[in-house]
């Protein structure tokens, strides 16, 4: 492999982790920054997995929340300590799952279980085209949500009640590491021969088929892999939230992830990552002041009250959707080279003029 290229990609990532480590050691752990970083990393993974499907394979699926739900539940069910089960499954006599597995195994299991569900769902659903596919996957997500709340399944899923007391992460590095590895795998996949086949399907299904690409198999593959990572994202989300409840995995969650993908640029992995951190930071942190009634002197700033943050936020989202439909990155990827080129192009000229002047 090209050494230079390796350094150029691995270097910044290593730096990022180092920076995180230092931040964690220096800043108080209660800073909102860490909340944003944790949740942002999780959403980045889920957004990239959705991008694999929507942006790279051209399958417009809206089932992400449902798959995250499966992942989150799998993780929760497998890791709640035995001594806590009696309390968690209080209405179901401690539940019927009577073993626990290590955290990393549970995360992998979350992905695998989700992938199996996705495979089964994909069999009928992937024959549908564009918006019909979207609405069918949305429907499946709703069905999954209902099934997981069914009290007959209570001994496993705890019915509609919260799952809690499972191990959660203590360091911001953990979600970053897991999400980072997963995103790296997705990137490798996208740049592989299969990734090219996915892109071919996105560009022109009929031509792709004429090139010998088995549509059903490849769509199924993309759908299952994407769901695998959505499941892992779900498991991480469970760890972040410290509790899991099926009721929270509504279509709104899928819409938010979709909007992240759109803001980042459909077909750009780095775009999705950047956008998810921006999205989470705006909605959880930076725009929070809009929700508080604020006085400047005796003057009450108009409009500011609970919920205004979301209005401002959705207006920003609409502006991006309408006027910058390519998102932050379009289909391009972010890299140091590209950044350097960008600045050179923008500011190179002025510099020359300075010299001349």
């Amino acid at each position: 492999m090209d050494m230079k290229k390796l350094i150029k990609t691995a270097g910044p990532i290593a730096l990022l982790f180092l920076l995180l480590f230092v931040l964690e050691k220096t800043l108080p752990t209660t800073s909102m920054l860490f909340v944003v970083l944790k949740k942002g990393a999780i959403y980045a993974l889920v957004a990239v997995s959705m991008n694999l499907l929507n942006g790279f394979t051209g399958l417009f699926s809206l089932g992400q929340a449902g798959f995250m739900l499966i992942g989150a539940y799998t993780y929760g069910i497998l890791t709640i300590p035995l001594e806590a089960r009696e309390a968690v499954y209080q209405y179901f006599d401690g539940g019927i799952v009577s073993f626990t597995v290590p955290v990393l195994v549970a995360i992998a299991a979350a992905g695998l279980v989700t992938a199996v569900f996705a495979y089964l769902i994909g069999l009928p659903v992937l024959r549908l085209k564009s918006d019909y596919l979207a609405i069918a996957t949305l429907g499946f997500a709703e069905i999954i949500r209902a099934v997981f709340q069914w009290d007959k399944l209570g001994p496993v899923t705890n019915g509609s009640n919260l799952l809690k007391r499972f191990p959660v992460f203590t360091s911001t590095l953990f979600p970053f590491a897991v999400a980072g590895v997963c995103i790296a795998v997705i990137v490798l996949l996208i740049n592989s021969s299969y990734g090219r086949a996915f892109k071919a399907i996105r560009d022109d299904e009929i031509a792709a088929e004429a090139m010998g690409i088995n549509l059903a198999k490849h769509k199924q593959m993309s759908f299952t892999i994407s769901s695998f990572f959505a499941g892992i994202g779900g498991a991480l989300l469970a760890m972040y939230q410290t509790t899991v409840q099926a009721a929270a995995f509504r279509a709104t969650m899928t819409y938010e992830i979709l909007l992240i993908v759109v803001i980042g640029g459909i077909g750009s992995v780095t775009g999705s990552c950047l956008a998810s951190f921006l999205f989470i930071a705006c909605s959880e942190w930076w725009l929070r002041f809009l929700d508080e009634v604020t006085y400047i002197g005796a003057f009450q700033v108009p409009l500011l009250s609970s919920g205004f943050r979301k209005v401002v936020f959705s207006v920003i989202v609409m502006i991006i959707v309408l006027f910058y439909s390519r998102g932050i990155m379009g289909t391009k990827e972010f890299s140091l080279d590209a950044l350097f080129r960008f600045f050179k192009k923008r500011f190179g000229k002025t510099k020359k003029e300075d010299v001349a002047g």
């Binding site: 209660t30 007391r165 203590t170 508080e292 609970s306």
Partner: protein, 394 residues
């Protein structure tokens, strides 16, 4: 056009960033922050707002505390958990990052449980005002509460149903995925079955607005009482549709229904609605009547507060609990003699005070020891509450 838009967008973002990065309010030397983790929007928004009112009012009554000869100002840091278990933890994190010494809340047991670990990890004690599910405090050393618990409340209501209506069959309607609703429904069922009754149970989903089918099932099952421990949002739908279907069976619910929303919905009908609650406006203890009088005055003096109370000056039980939770926190801070969350947490175990809702002292789980509940009936002609009985458990 596009460029202007782009530039303005970027400017907005930068501005917002600047605003976000500079901590909005630093803990200066003489301020102790008390976090308020309550819903002011969503399903439980109406109730949450009333609970906050109690705390805000308490803050006007006692807004300083003296520690070691130095006077500290008490400030409320209020966040909205949106009644949502998935939005709650972020709101809680905002309180943690604002360096609150102690947190009050929340209305709604689900959100309280959901954020519990966030506070636990930060080492901040929390005092729940009206979250009645046992799971909130069970197994935690940082979560306390000033109200009674659902097993108690469920038993009280079951007793009441049997004593007053000679009920044999109860129809229980709970909301899926709502800890409060499921828990209370469950405890009611247990107690009711123990008393020799039988139950028909159904659940509804988030966002459901059609309760006619449920009510029909209730009628068809020959139930003597309908027990529906739900949020006020669902409650107004259930009541409205019960009225239009001409339901003659008495409706019963827990503390959440003690709200003017219920009164408005039932107004002008001949529906019988009973609720159990923590506090009654007609309370005749010195402390209670004093609180009612001053709280009403405060509401009437502040139109926007009155608005938050649903536009009237009826004192909700949760406001009284909010008041008591705040006072408990103040007491703990005094006892700890410091603004350090850990010290306050330690001190809370030994706090004893007489609140407007009765005596408050915590047991080994962190729950206030309570033994009575107030039962009230909705007066459907003038939209007010009629005090029915003080019910305990034998």
């Amino acid at each position: 056009m596009k460029r202007v838009l782009a530039i303005s967008l970027v400017l907005c973002l930068v501005g917002v960033l600047a605003a976000g990065c500079t901590p909005a309010s630093q803990t200066s030397g003489n301020v102790i922050k008390i976090g308020v983790y309550e819903p002011s929007s969503g399903d439980n928004g109406a109730g949450g707002k009333q609970e906050v009112l109690g705390m805000e009012f308490a803050n006007t009554v006692v807004n300083t505390v003296e520690i070691g000869g130095k006077t500290y100002k008490l400030e409320l840091e209020i966040v909205d958990n949106e009644s949502s278990n998935d939005k709650g933890p972020s709101a809680a994190a905002a309180l943690v990052s604002a360096k609150c010494s102690v947190v009050l809340g929340s209305y709604g047991s689900g959100v309280s449980i959901a954020a519990s670990d966030v506070f636990k990890n930060a080492g901040i004690p929390v005092i729940g005002a009206s979250c009645t599910n046992p799971q909130v405090t069970l197994g935690n050393t940082h979560y306390f509460r000033v109200c009674y618990l659902d097993p108690f409340q469920g038993t009280v209501l079951a007793n009441f149903a049997v004593d007053n209506f000679q009920a044999k069959t109860a129809y229980i309607l709970t909301k899926l995925g709502d800890d409060y609703s499921a828990g209370l429904g469950n405890y009611f069922k247990e107690a009711f079955v123990k008393l020799g009754g039988s139950v028909v149970e159904e659940t509804f989903q988030e966002g459901n607005s059609d309760f006619t089918a449920y009510l029909t099932t209730a009628i068809n099952s020959g139930a003597d009482v309908i027990f529906a421990p739900t949020s006020t949002e669902a409650a107004s739908l259930i009541i409205g549709q019960a009225v239009s279907q001409g339901v003659k069976i008495p409706l019963m619910a827990g503390d959440t229904w003690d709200s003017s929303v219920i009164l408005d919905a039932a107004k002008g009908s001949d529906l019988e609605v009973f609720v159990s609650t923590f506090f009654d406006e007609g309370d005749n203890t010195a402390l209670g009547s004093e609180f009612v009088k001053n709280f009403k005055k405060w509401l009437n003096d502040n139109p926007d507060k009155k608005n938050n109370n649903g536009g009237n000056d009826i004192v909700a039980a949760v406001s009284a609990l909010g008041y008591d939770a705040y006072m408990t926190a103040v007491e703990a801070i005094k006892k700890a003699g410091s603004a350090d969350p850990k010290a306050i947490n330690e001190a809370l175990w030994d706090v004893k005070l007489t609140g407007v809702t009765g005596d408050i002292a915590f047991d080994e789980v962190g729950d206030a020891i309570r033994n009575v509940a107030y039962i009230k009936q909705a007066n459907t002609t003038d939209a007010s509450w009629i005090f029915v009985a003080i019910q305990g458990v034998e």
